[in-house]
């Protein structure tokens, strides 16, 4: 019995010293020991080898489907008017402005969207061009060779038995220290020392958490980092986005108050520096939300707010509609583009498929999280521009930098149906085509005759 306690005690001491010296101290100073970098390089070599083997294997088996992430079908890109004209062009003197071939246009558009549409694919994980030796991404890959299977098996062992316990321990250490640290700092009186300490605590603990995910983050254009009194907007793929961004700067988080463990975390965080947490009932009232955020931004000494205007997680292949609420607050917007490298692990949180815990487990049993973060130059709303247009402008800048597709569709379509007004827009567009120049000539004759009667 005593021996057991003794052993447990020694392990604990050993673990603590490893964490303090090899992880916490470097984290406090923003340094890195380079272990993760070496790990990533080794991984890249292994994955490249695996890709070659798979390609060779696919050449030997021509019936195996080649996975694509560029799309399944060729889509015709013309506008409604162009396409309909082409369908009719064989009858240039169409007496009526409507032709039976118009229905064919809608038919084809509909069928193309049934085979492949731009929206629903954003709510599930992106397919890989080549297998990355994780069973979970094994969509269309066949058995190739024994060597590959062995490497895969080794990978499973390493990920589940070596990396996973280490990462879980590290992440729990990081989070518990964050709670304790912010609580302690909260007792101090308001002063610049308190702010400095709070930033240190936040940064260190987030860095420990990032180590707990084997996250390698490349920050670009650090000169554009969000300043106090500003609003930072970024594309949203996973809750881990917060950890990724907070590794390099301190932000005031915005969100709903939760109960349980997360609630404890939120309460202690807000003691050391002002985050903006809303009750569920307050969230419904847009004015309350905007007012509080405006108040926060106006006090130029407070930390920049971090907002994800998409409102939901999407799979990092595109940027979906930015809700204009964040852009009505005023202040300077600091756009940030985040792009995850899919080869090392899928960071996307498919909330309809996995709950938080299984998502974290999946993330911790992936190879690593490799992510590029680009800080973009600050933007402000221009004259004559409304919030929605400003939101679109920011969105296209982020999409362009991150190499993501810029979509106008609402990320909320993950959960609810599309608005009827969009269908009405299509109908209006079509009506304009058939009540066009040709038709005026014809209807005039018809209505003239009717009026004469």
């Amino acid at each position: 019995m005593e021996n057991l306690w003794y052993v447990a005690g020694t392990i604990f001491q050993l673990w603590m010293s490893v964490v303090v010296f090899f992880i916490m101290l470097p984290a406090m100073f923003g340094l890195s020991l380079g272990v993760t970098e070496v790990y990533i390089q080794v991984l890249v070599k292994i994955l490249e080898w695996a890709t070659l083997r798979i390609q060779r294997g696919q050449q030997e088996q021509p019936s195996a489907p080649i996975p694509l992430h560029t799309g399944i079908i060729e889509r015709v890109g013309g506008s409604m008017e162009e396409e309909m004209w082409q369908l009719r062009c064989s009858r240039p003197e169409a007496a009526g402005a409507f032709c039976l071939s118009d229905g064919v246009y809608f038919c084809m558009k509909g069928l193309e969207s049934i085979v492949e549409d731009q929206v629903t694919q954003r709510f599930s994980s992106e397919e890989l061009a080549s297998w990355n030796l994780l069973t979970r991404t094994n969509q269309n890959f066949y058995y190739i060779s024994l060597r590959l299977t062995i490497i895969w098996g080794l990978g499973v062992f390493v990920r589940y038995c070596v990396l996973l316990p280490f990462r879980i321990a590290l992440a729990s250490t990081g989070i518990s220290w964050l709670v304790i640290g912010t609580c302690v700092v909260g007792f101090l009186p308001e002063s610049s020392a308190k702010n400095w300490l709070s930033e240190l605590v936040h940064l260190t603990c987030y860095r420990i958490c990032a180590r707990g995910l084997s996250a390698t983050i490349h920050y670009h254009n650090k000169e554009n980092r969000p300043q106090k009194g500003g609003i930072c907007v970024a594309n949203h793929t996973t809750p881990i986005d917060v950890v990724i961004l907070a590794n390099d700067g301190c932000y005031a988080m915005v969100g709903q108050t939760h109960g349980g463990l997360l609630g404890i975390l939120q309460k202690s965080m807000v003691r050391s520096c002002p985050h903006v947490w809303f009750e569920r009932s307050e969230m419904k009232d847009r004015n309350t939300v905007t007012r509080r955020l405006r108040h926060h931004v106006a006090a130029k000494t407070k930390l920049p707010i971090l907002i994800f205007p998409e409102g939901t997680c999407v799979n990092n292949t595109s940027v979906m509609m930015f809700k204009k609420g964040s852009f009505e607050i005023g202040g300077t917007i600091y756009p940030v583009a985040i792009k995850y490298d899919r080869r090392f692990g899928d960071a996307f949180w498919n909330s309809s498929k996995y709950n938080m815990v299984s998502y974290l487990l999946r993330t911790m049993t992936s190879w690593a999280i490799v992510v590029n973060v680009w800080y973009l130059p600050p933007m402000t709303i221009q004259d004559g521009e409304d919030a929605a247009q400003f939101a679109n402008r920011v969105k296209s800048v982020i999409a362009h930098q991150g190499g993501l597709l810029d979509l106008a569709w609402d990320g909320g379509l993950k959960r609810y149906k599309v608005k009827d007004s969009l269908k009405e827009e299509q109908q209006k567009m079509y009506s304009n085509i058939i009540v066009g120049q040709n038709h005026i000539r014809n209807t005039k004759t018809c209505s003239e005759t009717r009026e004469d009667q």
Partner: protein
């Protein structure tokens, strides 16, 4: 380690579908992945709601007519074979098929069958004629509230007048084909796969 998408689809089924529709092995597996991703209830069939969940289809003015084309008369669920059979109409007509001796039964993606699909979009009661009422209903779907009943009526009348050759004030399939005879159906009514 096999392909996860096709472990639920047996090789024999793939062969059957290949024979019936002419899609290649990889196209069938790809479309099966698509089918399963649309099948939220995971029961091997799609309902009308599953189709409605595609935003681009939900905003299509003829969306309901297109969805209807997948469901056989009176049924509410479509399985993968039925799904593929409908999509087969839109497979491109390959050159080597044109030159071969015509097969015993007309392939699903022949010009006639493509046009028949378009015809059935208008023919609401499936009686092989497009009446003035049916044409008006479909026109109303396409234009929404933007055109008055009178204008729409005159458009319908003019269309029928032009197309109707046997004077029965309805458009039969033969008359429909005549109207669209110059349209490059093979090119316009085909979905090209990228591989």
């Amino acid at each position: 380690m096999g392909s996860r998408a096709s472990t639920l689809l047996r090789e024999e089924e793939i062969e059957e579908i290949k024979k019936e529709t002419g899609f290649s092995h990889s196209q069938i597996t790809r479309l099966y992945s698509r089918f399963t991703s649309l099948d939220k209830g995971e029961n091997g069939t799609l309902s009308r709601e599953d189709f409605q969940r595609i935003p681009e289809l939900a905003i299509n003015p003829l969306g309901d007519r297109i969805i209807n084309a997948f469901f056989p008369e009176g049924e509410d669920q479509v399985n993968f074979k039925g799904f593929m059979r409908t999509l087969a109409h839109f497979r491109p007509i390959e050159d080597n098929e044109k030159n071969k001796n015509p097969p015993a039964t007309e392939p699903l993606n022949s010009r006639t069958n493509k046009l028949l699909f378009a015809f059935r979009l208008y023919d609401l009661d499936r009686d092989d004629k497009i009446s003035r009422d049916e044409l008006l209903q479909v026109l109303r779907m396409m234009v929404g509230v933007n055109i008055s009943d009178d204008q729409l009526g005159s458009i319908a009348d003019r269309t029928i007048q032009e197309a109707d050759t046997n004077g029965d004030t309805c458009i039969s399939f033969q008359e429909f084909m005549k109207v669209l005879e110059k349209v490059d159906v093979e090119q316009k009514m085909s979905i090209r796969f990228l591989h």
